[in-house]
């Protein structure tokens, strides 16, 4: 099943809320570090959750330009579509 960008964003936000342990207003423009204040280890663990949820292997270089939830959704979408 192919997921579109907005569905991936929605799922990424759900995983983020689980990682943060709280509900928070978020969108594709939410920055993972600047807006949410995630520590580096939290980012790594969150990305592991994302990989497991979508059954993907995401290497660190691929994430170099990722700042927002939307950026991450674009990476996930690209990898899902091969």
């Amino acid at each position: 099943m192919k997921l579109d960008h907005s569905a991936i964003v929605e799922e990424l936000i759900r995983l983020l809320e689980a990682a943060l342990g709280r509900r928070q207003a978020m969108s594709a423009d939410t920055a993972l570090i600047a807006d949410l204040g995630l520590e580096s280890i939290q980012v790594i663990e969150y990305l592991c959750e994302v990989e497991d949820r979508f059954d993907l292997a995401i290497d660190e270089d691929t994430l170099a330009d990722v700042q927002t939830v939307g950026d991450l959704a674009a990476v996930v979408q690209r990898l899902l579509n091969g």
Binding site: E39, S40, I41, Q42, I44, E45, L47, C48, E51, D52, D55, L56, A57, I58, D59, E60, D61
Partner: protein, 400 residues
């Protein structure tokens, strides 16, 4: 951006630390009194935040060997291992390390950091895949990054997470490198090495274990967690340091793979630095003999570790999951951790304070470590000091 603008964040961090009553990164050891005591802030202090697990920094034979080497071979080699910096003693130490692990190949580096960096950049290159534990030491991450390999992180101590990532890599898994530590240095928790070895057997790949904090501490012969977990044969590369149980400075890699000998021609952190000075090699060799010949040091270390862990757990503190010579105490509040740490220091007990973002879980942590050289009286004093600071600063809610 101007050249120095990037230091603004560091400047802010420094200002925060300097505003604290005692800057935890600015502690000065004014005088070293023994393997377990020093003068800190003008106060006689028990050192309970070192990596001197076997207490060998004042081993009489090691000191004598170092003094002799200093007198006979001078203060330094002034050159690379690939030029004028390989003395007979460097080769003898490599042979002794290989014999200690019963492996055919060993290589000595100038620091533990260089050992991790040097082996990883030699082993990995662009297009390779490396699977790295989320809490792996900075030197391991730096080595992976410097190599240009594709880095895939997995959750700390999570064999299932590792297996999933190897599965997703498909055929690439056969040549992937799995990089983990034995004993982790902050919380004192151990890697599930047997499970990792099983994952490797299922999916393929190579296993690299950094035993910096486990050498001399685990195993009947002190060869680390790979020995105590019975997976030395399944481990492709064991890396370690001389600056913890061996009480000096330097690092090494041992392996059954003959290609390790070729790393000398491919490892820039090995080639482009001066080799360890003769006195360091001499003290390291003596300390390695102590590890091999005096298992009673390890027995004493574990008696001390069990005693301290049990007592601190009894205070209701939240400790790491495994009893080990490294005890990480987690605090929900940074200020409570800070006050406890400072209270301990004022009581003459030095521990390590780890504040966000340095702690593995992003929280605040006091790291306590014991050595074989701590006396019963010193252990009791560490425990009573903890009782006092917990009562004073953290009663009713210091734990997370």
């Amino acid at each position: 951006m101007r050249l120095f603008e990037k230091f603004k964040a560091a400047e802010t961090t420094r200002a925060l630390l300097e505003a604290l009553p005692v800057n935890p990164t600015g502690v000065v050891i004014e005088e070293v009194l023994s393997a377990t005591e020093a003068v800190v802030g003008g106060r006689h202090t028990i050192m309970a935040g070192t990596n001197n697990y076997l207490g060998l920094t004042f081993d009489a034979a090691a000191i004598a060997a170092g003094q002799q080497a200093l007198a006979k071979a001078g203060t330094g080699t002034t050159g690379s291992r690939m030029a004028n910096g390989t003395y007979r003693a460097h080769l003898e130490l490599e042979a002794e390390l290989a014999a200690f692990y019963e492996l055919p190949h060993a290589m000595v580096f100038s620091t533990g950091y260089a050992a991790n960096l040097g082996t990883l950049v030699a082993l990995l290159g662009e297009g390779d895949a490396v699977l790295l534990d989320a809490e792996a030491h900075a030197s391991l991450f730096d080595g992976c990054r410097m190599s240009g390999a594709d880095i895939f992180r997995f959750k700390h101590n999570d064999p299932d997470g590792l297996a999933n990532r190897l599965r997703r890599l498909g055929e690439r898994a056969q040549n992937a490198l799995i990089v983990v530590e034995g004993l982790y240095s902050i919380r004192g928790d151990c890697a599930p090495l047997r499970e990792y070895a099983a994952v490797k057997a299922e999916y393929g790949g190579y296993l690299f274990v950094d035993e910096a904090h486990s050498l001399g501490v685990y195993g009947d012969r002190g060869r680390g967690l790979v020995e105590s977990e019975g997976i030395l044969a399944e481990t492709d590369f064991v890396v370690g340091t001389f600056s913890k149980s061996l009480g000096s400075i330097g690092g090494f890699c041992v392996s059954r793979h003959p290609e390790l000998a070729l790393f000398r021609y491919a490892s820039r952190p090995y080639i482009f630095t001066a080799s360890p000075c003769p006195s360091v090699i001499a003290t390291t060799r003596e300390a390695l003999r102590r590890i091999a010949e005096q298992p009673q040091l390890r027995d004493q270390l574990w008696r001390n570790a069990r005693c301290l862990y049990t007592a601190l757990a009894g205070l209701g503190l939240r400790l790491g999951p495994h009893v080990s010579p490294v005890i990480g105490i987690s605090f929900a509040e940074r200020d409570v951790a800070l006050r406890c740490w400072q209270g301990l220091l004022e009581a003459g007990v030095y521990t390590n304070l780890i504040l966000p973002p340095a702690a593995p879980d992003g929280g605040s942590l006091i790291r306590v470590s014991v050595t074989a050289a701590h006396t019963e009286a010193q252990i009791e004093r560490i425990i009573s000091s903890f009782e006092n600071v917990v009562r004073q600063h953290a009663a009713g809610g210091c734990t997370v």
